[in-house]
């Protein structure tokens, strides 16, 4: 039996159980890393709303519950077929599929894999003593700065390891798909990804989080991404968790000299979700684009915290986050742009736009510019509003009824972000999901 995690002690118990069951065979460096992380987590615990970073998001619904650590899932053939036929899985030619945190080789497919890409699960990479994994893992997402990174690291047993060697153009997107099969007891899962893009290489990476059914569970994911000098990465995250689920994610990206990082975060699922997206422009000439779309309704809570750090001169960052809220949903957007001393000629632009479709939806939007250099261009803007009346009238004046006009405008508001994704099958999936969730319906 796996222990329940209803208070911090239970996380300690869970940790010990895990170390006894399988974890003990892992390399010493990994076990030490986990040991430090659990100590860190037990020391700090869950952050409260008295902390600035968590002012608008109360974690009590997550913290006061107990979770089980899932065991390796035994999947029936019908379940395997169901997962394989999920549209996003079917669209992913090159993929690792994890179920409840464990790699499922029969659902994964690497036959289309570019020969210069190393795509493995961390468990196998760590066990085969990959010196790069040992060197890079946990070097970017700081355990000391986040309870959730600490907890993820403490329970780091598997996840994806993606490495593209230098000077390669990898066209086929690489998918990391995390599927949860909820059970009666809530489970907690700790996906972990290490993504290394070599110098002057290009790649596309897609993280997907979804569930096979509704149920309470908690995904606490961490991705560390390193984009080498002159490399380009398009990084897409699609969060489609179950409506009763909790989702915490930390994406830590390190952008090298003249590298181009472009992130799109599409979030539609879960009852309570928090995305921490931190991008560090670490080399001159780097470029970072963060786009996001959140589409929530009912009692959903969704919190996007982004941080772009300009640490060196002549880097550019562009950020566009858009939200559509219905019902009693509540969204938080906090966009911090930090321009370090000496990071001259920084060009940073941030926009957050929210569309409220109901009177009971709520948005807290907060740009935070911290500028410690004097020769920079930084702009930000945030809007919260209803549909543009002039646009509604324009569409109606062409024969489109009010309902369809509202649907079309809402759709347009969102596809503005979706259209920036370069992977066409994904764009289609996003648009389909969007259409399904539009309260107003659309013309054919």
């Amino acid at each position: 039996m796996t222990p329940l995690a209803h208070d911090l002690n239970s996380y300690q118990a869970g940790f010990e159980w895990r170390e006894r069951h399988g974890g003990g065979d892992d390399p010493v460096w990994l076990r030490e890393m986990r040991g430090k992380a659990i100590a860190q987590f037990l020391d700090t615990g869950f952050p409260g709303t008295d902390e600035e970073e968590w002012r608008f998001t109360n974690l009590a619904p997550i913290a006061e519950r107990s979770y089980r650590l899932p065991e390796f899932p035994t999947l029936e053939a019908s379940t395997i077929r169901r997962i394989a036929s999920l549209p996003v899985v079917a669209a992913a030619h090159c993929r690792l599929v994890f179920v409840n945190g464990y790699l499922i080789p029969e659902l994964s497919s690497t036959s289309h894999l570019h020969p210069s890409v190393q795509l493995q699960n961390i468990a196998s990479a760590a066990l085969t003593s990959d010196s790069i994994v040992e060197r890079e893992l946990s070097q970017y997402a700081a355990v000391s700065k986040s309870s959730f990174t600490a907890l993820n690291t403490a329970f780091l047993h598997d996840g994806a390891y993606v490495r593209v060697v230098p000077s390669q153009a990898v066209d086929e997107p690489i998918y990391l798909i995390y599927v949860t099969v909820p059970a009666a007891d809530p489970v907690m899962i700790f996906p972990r990804n290490l993504i290394l893009i070599g110098e002057n290489s290009t790649a596309k990476l897609v993280e997907v989080y979804l569930s096979l059914a509704d149920g309470i569970y908690w995904n606490n994911a961490v991705s560390e991404t390193v984009i080498g000098e002159g490399a380009r990465l398009e990084h897409i995250k699609y969060q489609l968790e179950a409506e009763s689920a909790f989702h915490i994610s930390t994406q830590q990206s390190h952008i090298g000299r003249d590298a181009v990082y472009s992130s799109t975060s599409i979030a539609m699922g879960s009852r309570l979700a928090r995305n921490n997206l931190n991008a560090i422009l670490a080399g001159m000439g780097g470029e970072c684009t963060l786009n996001g779309l959140y589409l929530i309704a009912g009692n959903q809570r969704l919190d996007n915290h982004t941080l772009i750090e300009h640490t060196v001169p002549e880097c550019a960052s562009h950020e566009l986050y858009k939200g559509i809220l219905n019902g009693h949903s509540h969204a938080v957007f906090n966009g911090r742009v930090r321009v370090r001393p000496g990071a001259q000629k920084t060009d940073a632009k941030q926009t957050n736009k929210n569309l409220l479709l109901s009177n009971d939806a709520l948005v807290n939007t907060q740009p935070q510019l911290e500028i410690y250099a004097d020769d920079v261009k930084c702009t930000h803007g945030a809007t919260i509003g209803q549909l543009d009346e002039e646009a509604v009238f324009y569409l109606r004046s062409r024969g489109i009824d009010l309902e369809a006009a509202s649907g079309l405008l809402t759709y347009g508001f969102a596809s503005d972000v979706i259209d920036r994704v370069s992977v066409e099958p994904l764009r289609n999936l996003f648009n389909d999901a969007l259409r399904e969730r539009l309260p107003q319906g659309l013309p054919d």
Binding site: E390, L395, R396, S397, I400, D401, A404, G412, P443
Partner: protein
């Protein structure tokens, strides 16, 4: 043969907030006719156009509008469009994220549905679109862009006339379609409008200047001042306005005018 009466505006009064804008407009438009509605800035031309299209920010306080036997003011904007009314906007609205073609197809099929016709399928629709594009010599690449987003002023106006060409209205109101057009674009847009002219439809051209009327020749010219049509005539009235301005038609100020008006540019 008697021409079909398309539009009858009787004693129309309207206000925006507390400000009286229309103060008793009378206008009759029959099938096959082209009307020009002229007047100085602020005279109520665009307000009249917007009210006819169904903009609800104005309050009609008196009078009536009969469009093809129906009380127009009781119809929703989309119903008016489905009944064949079309307004080419003075300031076409940008709609990010909504593809121009998709939008136009949705509009056309809504109107066809209202008429009890089948939806046009993608192939027939594209054929129609291609043909009508040529009418206004519009760049086909604008079709796959979001509606009006990033279009130049001239492209937006062409897009309005292109939509008109596809939707084939019975009564088209062109609100200052000439503003922002250079002379070549003006000629093309006007040629498009002329080619869409049929015995069973009509056009009301709202304009500040006579220039457009060199290309779209009106059967009737009306001068709107202070929310009232103060003079009607044939195309020669437009030329006279070009020469004399509007001053000679204006009454002495009655304290209601919002801003002092100036005459036309040429005296």
């Amino acid at each position: 043969m008697e021409k079909e009466r398309l539009l009858t505006v009787r004693n129309l009064h309207a206000k925006a907030g507390d400000i009286d804008i229309l103060q008793g407009v009378d206008l009759t438009v029959n099938a096959g006719e082209v009307h020009a509605l002229m007047g100085p800035n602020g005279s109520g031309k665009s307000t009249l156009a917007q009210i006819l299209a169904g903009r609800d920010q104005y309050e009609v306080t008196e009078g009536e509008v009969i469009y093809r036997g129906k009380n127009l003011l009781e119809l929703a904007p989309e119903e008016r469009a489905c009944e064949g009314l079309f307004l080419a906007f003075q300031y076409p609205v940008e709609i990010p994220g909504v593809n121009n073609t998709y939008f136009l197809k949705a509009a056309l099929n809504a109107i066809r549905k209202h008429r009890g016709e089948e939806d046009l399928d993608a192939v027939d629709f594209l054929a129609l679109v291609k043909e009508r594009l040529q009418l206004v010599e519009m760049d086909p690449s604008l079709l796959s862009r979001p509606v009006n987003e990033g279009f130049s002023g001239g492209e937006k106006k062409r897009n309005e006339i292109f939509q008109m060409a596809v939707l084939e209205p019975i009564l088209a109101i062109l609100d200052e379609t000439d503003s922002g057009l250079d002379i070549d674009a003006l000629r093309i847009v006007a040629a498009g409008v002329n080619r869409l002219k049929r015995p069973d439809n009509a056009t009301v051209v709202v304009t500040h200047y006579q220039r457009l009327l060199n290309y779209i020749v009106p059967d009737f010219v009306h001068v709107l001042i202070d929310g009232r049509i103060v003079k009607s005539g044939d195309k020669n009235l437009a030329l006279e306005l070009e020469n004399r301005g509007y001053d000679w038609l204006e009454e002495q100020p009655k304290g209601r005018r919002k801003t002092p008006q100036r005459g036309a540019l040429v005296s």
